[in-house]
């Protein structure tokens, strides 16, 4: 903080002749982002002395951040750009607060590192409302010690869900306090399993729910099999996030963004190992993994400020900004140049094999985290989670999922 004030002060003093535009930036989750945001602002202002970056006091989490942005926009004090959760920018778009980025985008986005998969994270109805700034997908965290005790091997680690459930059952049988596998009963995890089967939660035009097809039923059935065959318990997310680093959980399906935390938590206990999510679909081109993390949105409608704000957005989503974000947060980059060009992160990946596994999964299969449209959009994700709880506890998969789909169609006015 002190450093930030100092730099802001220096820039103000040095640039009083040149500094004309001040850009206000909002972000959330200071525990992950505080230092990264300072580093980004510092690097950007060094390259653009005529623009001053002012960082708002951060919001505790993405949910609270969006609430604040909504309040500020009602009061007319919204910041110029904001980092928001990749599943939450639609809330702002829905209220007409985001400014389209298409007019600012480079001629050839792919050459600037914005691949179609990465662009899809911030697109709705052919308009670019947001650009990804950090990305994470669902991966498997494995405790190699437990795998070996259960008679498995990391060299021969299963790459299918059948193999994983079998291994999980063997680990679960090791003892009363040892758990085999765990996955959160949650919208994003379900979408990930669905994407692995080549399914989608909705049609492209969002006019109908599609997760009650074969792909969706097999994805939901996995939850039931994890419980009935793999011995998965009903631990809460917090419980599991404590159990895995403590060494009592064999395989955990979790966001790749937790890598640093798990490695620190496990300490010398065991070597946290990351494995890519199994792909079920016969045609890999249909597979997508919904991507968590953050995206940046442009909120100001003043033309001059928009240009300066775009310069900032281009910087943080460009290779230099992305290098800073990856090195500081452990999130996967949302720009393909940093992955392809060894000059940026070659040394980082050489030292972090786990990060390479997680990040190449993002580059290969990144897809949008579908947000359900309309007033009930957030509310229905809790209904999905509740249905997954029921399925895990043994409810009929087909009946539960089709009831859920009908319930969603009804609430989202899709009929």
């Amino acid at each position: 903080m002190k450093r930030l004030l100092l730099t802001a002060g220096l820039v103000l003093a040095a640039g009083s002749a040149a500094a004309e535009t001040e850009i206000r930036v909002h972000y959330a989750i200071p525990t992950i982002w505080a230092e990264t945001q300072e580093a980004l602002a510092e690097a950007f202002m060094e390259a653009n002395p005529d623009i001053t970056i002012t960082i708002d006091g951060p919001a505790e989490g993405y949910a609270e951040g969006v609430q604040r942005l909504l309040r500020e926009s009602v009061a007319g004090t919204a910041p110029d750009v904001a980092y928001v959760g990749l599943n939450r920018w639609r809330i702002l778009e829905d209220r007409g607060l985001t400014q389209p980025l298409d007019g600012f985008m480079p001629e050839d986005p792919a050459a600037a590192g914005y691949t179609p998969a990465l662009l899809s994270l911030g697109q709705f109805e052919d308009t670019q409302h947001s650009l990804g700034t950090s990305a994470s997908t669902l991966v498997m965290y494995v405790n190699p010690d437990l795998v070996e005790q259960a008679g498995g091997s990391m060299d021969d680690f299963p790459t299918t869900f059948d193999g994983i459930i079998e291994l999980a059952a063997a680990i679960d049988a090791l003892g009363d306090t040892i758990e085999g596998v765990w996955i959160h009963r949650h919208d994003w995890r379900f979408q990930s399993l669905l994407g692995s089967h080549g399914g989608r939660p909705m049609t492209a035009d969002e006019s109908d729910i599609t997760f009650d097809d074969d792909a969706g039923l097999s994805a939901a059935a996995l939850y039931q099999r994890f419980a009935s065959e793999g011995g998965m318990s009903s631990m809460s997310q917090d419980d599991a996030r404590q159990a895995f680093p403590a060494g009592t959980l064999g395989i955990m399906f979790e966001s790749s963004s937790l890598l640093t935390r798990f490695v620190e938590g496990a300490g010398d206990g065991f070597d946290v190992t990351v494995r890519a999510l199994p792909v079920v679909a016969d045609d890999p081109s249909t597979v997508y993994f919904p991507t968590g993390g953050s995206g940046i949105v442009l909120l100001t409608d003043d033309a001059e400020r928009q240009q300066a704000a775009w310069d900032y957005i281009a910087f943080v989503t460009g290779p230099e900004g992305q290098r800073i974000i990856v090195e500081n947060t452990g999130y996967a980059p949302a720009n393909s140049i940093v992955l392809d060009d060894e000059a940026y992160l070659g040394a980082y990946y050489a030292a972090n094999e786990n990060a390479r596994v997680a990040h190449s999964q993002v580059a290969q299969y990144a897809g949008p985290w579908y947000a359900y449209p309309g007033a009930e959009g957030v509310a229905v994700t809790d209904l999905i989670a509740a249905a997954l709880v029921e399925v895990t506890e043994g409810a009929d998969v087909e009946g539960t999922i089709s009831t859920l789909a009908d319930d969603l169609r009804d609430r989202l006015d899709m009929q």
Binding site: L97, S236, D239, E376, A379, D382, A385, A386
Partner: protein, 294 residues
């Protein structure tokens, strides 16, 4: 006369203005919003009449939250009042013989009230952890089956109620202790002369009736606290799993601040407000009529 009026206005005016601006006005806005479908940040809202109230009392989720709150209260209110009374009687009894011990115990029982519930909830979460938690270790040591305290749908509400009781006992104890020390010793002397010499008869003939006003106050305060349960739900279960620990205030928060449905959340607030108002009115009516001996 005018000067006195001006002084009065100067003294009472600012506070009254603040109350109107920051309490009555927002409450009025909430009452209006309760009849609309307003979404946080939305440019417009439609008038929907009683639809929000129909959803609260008619939908599965709305009823679930109401019923959960009632079950929680039905467990917490009697348990924490009775336990609070028992602890107070015990501590009051030993005050003369062992004043130090009594003071220490008083502090111990009061600690949960003084501690921040959110911080305490984190501690409880560790205790109730299914594989690492102390609670399950003890249970396993006793040869019983470990439980999923916070993720078993049939159990989670009672786990939260246990924490609610743990928190309420200390507060109720302090109130009962105050009530006990206000009972005049002469009443016990009179009871002894009339033949009530021992424990139960003294309690039933003197202590319990004299504690009437205190007991009523304790019950009302405990009820208000139980209906308001929020912190433990928000920090430990998020209303889950599958809405099994969704309570009325958590639903209010969920709808308003997570789903952004300000209109519906306002309707819940109005219902909740009315319930608390009723409770308070009941207290005033009863206190005035029944439980004071004059």
């Amino acid at each position: 006369m005018i000067r006195r009026l001006a002084t009065d206005l100067l003294l009472a005016g600012p506070a009254a203005l603040a109350v109107v601006l920051f309490i009555f006005l927002p409450v009025a806005v909430v009452f209006v919003l309760a009849f609309t479908d307003y979404l946080v940040g939305a440019p417009t809202a439609e008038w929907v009449g009683l639809e929000n109230f129909e959803e609260l009392f008619g939908s599965r989720l709305g009823r679930n939250a109401l019923i959960n709150t009632l079950i929680y209260s039905a467990v917490v209110i009697p348990s924490s009042v009775i336990l609070g009374l028992l602890v107070a009687l015990g501590l009051h009894g030993i005050t003369k013989r062992m004043p130090r011990v009594s003071a220490v115990l008083r502090t111990v029982y009061f600690l949960p009230v003084a501690a921040t519930l959110v911080a305490m909830a984190v501690a409880w979460q560790m205790l109730m952890h299914p594989s690492l938690g102390l609670l399950n270790h003890w249970i396993a040591a006793l040869g019983l089956t470990p439980q999923q305290w916070l993720t078993d749908r049939g159990l989670v509400l009672y786990s939260l109620a246990a924490i609610g009781i743990w928190q309420g006992v200390g507060y109720n104890m302090v109130l009962f202790l105050a009530g006990l020390s206000a009972i005049q010793p002469t009443l016990y002397d009179a009871a002894t002369i009339d033949g009530a010499e021992h424990g139960w008869s003294r309690f039933w003939c003197v202590t319990w009736p004299m504690l009437g006003p205190t007991t009523l106050f304790v019950v009302i305060v405990t009820a208000a606290n139980a209906f308001r349960v929020f912190e433990t739900v928000a920090t430990m279960t998020d209303g889950g799993p599958a809405f099994a620990s969704d309570t009325i205030v958590y639903a209010l928060y969920r709808e308003g601040f997570v789903y952004f449905k300000a209109g519906y959340a306002s309707a819940i607030t109005v219902v909740f407000f009315a319930a608390l108002l009723l409770l308070t009115a009941l207290q005033i009516a009863l206190v005035e009529r029944k439980v004071h001996y004059r």
